[in-house]
Assembly symmetry: C2
């Protein structure tokens, strides 16, 4: 019997309790021991909840109980989670978390603490919800030099883009409906501005590099500027538009990373990932490409990943599960130095000048569209591209990177 | 330093040596120790090969060397592989294999031997080439009750079907070209008749059930009867045709499994898996669906999976890596009891009788096709369907299950 505590009885935390209960037999069999939720830490009371009696408000009750070997941190944020995670690890309790803010910001610190105190810090649920991706990177593709990771890492934005494409609807309208349905938060900034995807690609690329990738240094653009017209041109070009989080190893110390909308060729396996689904494409030097696909969020899927980590902790009580993520900072390439081909939506009157200032590109005009046209450039450095854009002024209505 | 031996210096075996050499730094780092190929067992000589000096012809040289802790079995077949694997495990040497015949036929026996001798029997490379799927099932989705696994597990047949669809070409022609290009074997039976996919789904469903699934009992149909006309109707119905290996848990002891062509709705994530790619869709009771996608074969991808297993063995020298696959046989549902909806291609003259003997279905007639039509039935038991087919005699030109 191994005792577990859950920090935070919200969506994922209650899901963790539910998974342990509903799949009790399976979980015990796979762990080799029975797993019992001994405590639930939350500021609130839960009168009538079947686990009411397990709820405590004082973290020290849990920290001081030597029988608790594993903590599930499903609080979110870093205010309390940082101190509590640290305290648990210092007591030699393994921590399994779904908290991407914590992992992106304090991953190496927590991993080091875990190593020093003979326990583990696992975070499968922090990226891709229930999709296995952290453990595949850490434990499966170990013989690979992983060279690039590209992902659709945010279900909300993928849902919005899919709906915009299928219904020809505006961003604002689709967002409003997504909010009604609970697919988007009341305050959608973290999703639609790409911040959520940014933290997740920072975690994945830290594991790829074995060094710390500071999420704050990753150039990040959201999807708020995408308009239905962009999908018309995308469709005509055999493309779709996705919010991609991309990271590519330049050398042992340097990473090219970016979160931005990409007008993606339909042949790319990520192009068919629609609605709330996530997918992560991993490129290895031996393997070629492998893709991991599924629902990237959801209470039970995410909780299942946390409990999978708990099982791994039980299997490795007192033993270190290797995770290569040093505190040393990886260098992140300046956005201006990235090289992409671009889609430009411009006023009709820009037709001649576009070919002149961005030679070698292709004009696309669609029947029935009298106001604008599209121009597909050759690959070029972002800073050079931005200079050209400045010169074009308000002739340009929008731009999206090609991929 | 951990010494490794490679049994069989063919495509995968030489790939294993190449991966260990090319990714030496990465492999050592992830394993925590340097890995050295100490011996290569093969009947042949390899004059001029850089590893010529490592080649031995007598397995006992390896078995008697206590420094060899891990063996990569990349021989294929079971004639020699069975005895050699057994002997290695009995000596306490872990075995990492890409040999699906061995795993499908002797998996539980080898796993038991490994447990008894304090070593491991790992087989990530036996299904899906370089795509991580065995370890995700064993070590990632541990909190899930996996309820169903559906896969495109054979790259050759997927290539042939993709080409037939895209080019409207006959099976025989596409096969001949695939053979020229090396995408299909000279003797293609194991691929095109579904035997290869059958062994792979037997392995995956054994892990899903925790019991042994006898591949010889899985109803298996190949793709040789598919004609270009079937793709015309599939396209018109928003479908495509794939060779699917499917397994579904009925209860703790009973499995519904089948390998057969399926006319698949385009919305199914497996529908977009084309050319030589493989994909495995796993359905868990908490997770919903997750998919694992990539090249299912290829020298270096497969070898990379074997070396990933080697690294796991090094990390767990003297410790058991859990794998739940008992010798107890799972019951496999009779094919006749499976329930599917069917596509029927029939002579035009069958139009009236089809609706009468298979009520509730839908007729599809395509402009320009005067000889045949398609009929899409309601779901029904296979034995009932077969009885109806008998009555229809040569009015029926072909049938494919819907999915």
């Amino acid at each position: 019997m191994v005792k577990v505590a859950v920090f935070g009885y919200g969506t994922v935390g209650s899901g963790v309790v539910e998974v342990i209960e509903k799949n009790k037999e399976q979980v015990s069999k796979k762990a080799g021991e029975e797993i019992e939720v001994a405590y639930i830490l939350d500021l609130r009371e839960f009168p009538g909840d079947p686990y009411e009696a397990k709820v405590v408000h004082d973290v020290n009750v849990i920290l001081e109980d030597p029988e608790v070997k594993i903590v599930c941190e499903t609080m979110g944020g870093t205010t309390f989670a940082y101190n509590y995670t640290k305290a648990a690890l210092e007591k030699g309790k393994s921590v399994c978390t779904s908290n991407k803010e914590m992992v992106a910001k304090f991953g190496p610190e927590m991993l080091k603490l875990a190593r020093e105190h003979g326990c583990n810090y696992l975070f499968e649920a922090s990226v891709g919800g229930g999709i296995p991706i952290i453990r595949p990177l850490n434990d499966c593709l170990t013989a690979e030099k992983v060279e690039a990771i590209t992902g659709i890492l945010n279900g909300t934005t993928n849902y919005i883009l899919t709906k915009m494409e299928r219904e020809g609807a505006d961003f604002d309208k689709v967002l409003a409906r997504a909010q009604e349905k609970g697919y988007a938060e009341r305050n959608p900034e973290a999703d639609v501005e790409g911040y959520d995807a940014c933290r997740k690609i920072a975690i994945l690329s830290s594991l790829m590099m074995g060094k710390n990738v500071d999420f704050e240094k990753i150039p990040t653009e959201g999807i708020t500027k995408i308009v239905p017209e962009d999908f018309d041109y995308a469709k005509a070009a055999g493309r779709t538009i996705k919010l991609l989080a991309r990271a590519k190893v330049i050398d042992d110390n340097t990473l090219e990373a970016m979160v931005s909308p990409v007008m993606l060729d339909k042949e790319n396996p990520l192009a068919m990932v629609s609605m709330v689904f996530n997918a992560i494409l991993v490129k290895g030097n031996m393997l070629g490409e492998a893709m991991f696909y599924g629902k990237g969020a959801g209470k039970l899927a995410t909780a299942s990943a946390v409990v999978g980590d708990v099982i791994d902790c039980v299997r490795h009580l007192g033993k270190e599960i290797p995770c290569f993520w040093d505190a040393e900072e990886a260098t992140i390439l300046d956005a201006g130095k990235h090289s992409y081909a671009y889609y430009i939506r411009a006023k009709k009157s820009a037709k001649e000048v576009l070919g002149a200032v961005l030679p070698g590109g292709e004009i696309m005009e669609l029947p029935g569209r009298d106001e604008d046209l599209a121009y597909f450039t050759q690959p070029m450095k972002q800073d050079a591209f931005e200079k050209v854009l400045e010169g074009l002024g308000d002739l340009v209505l929008g731009t999206i990177r090609l991929g």
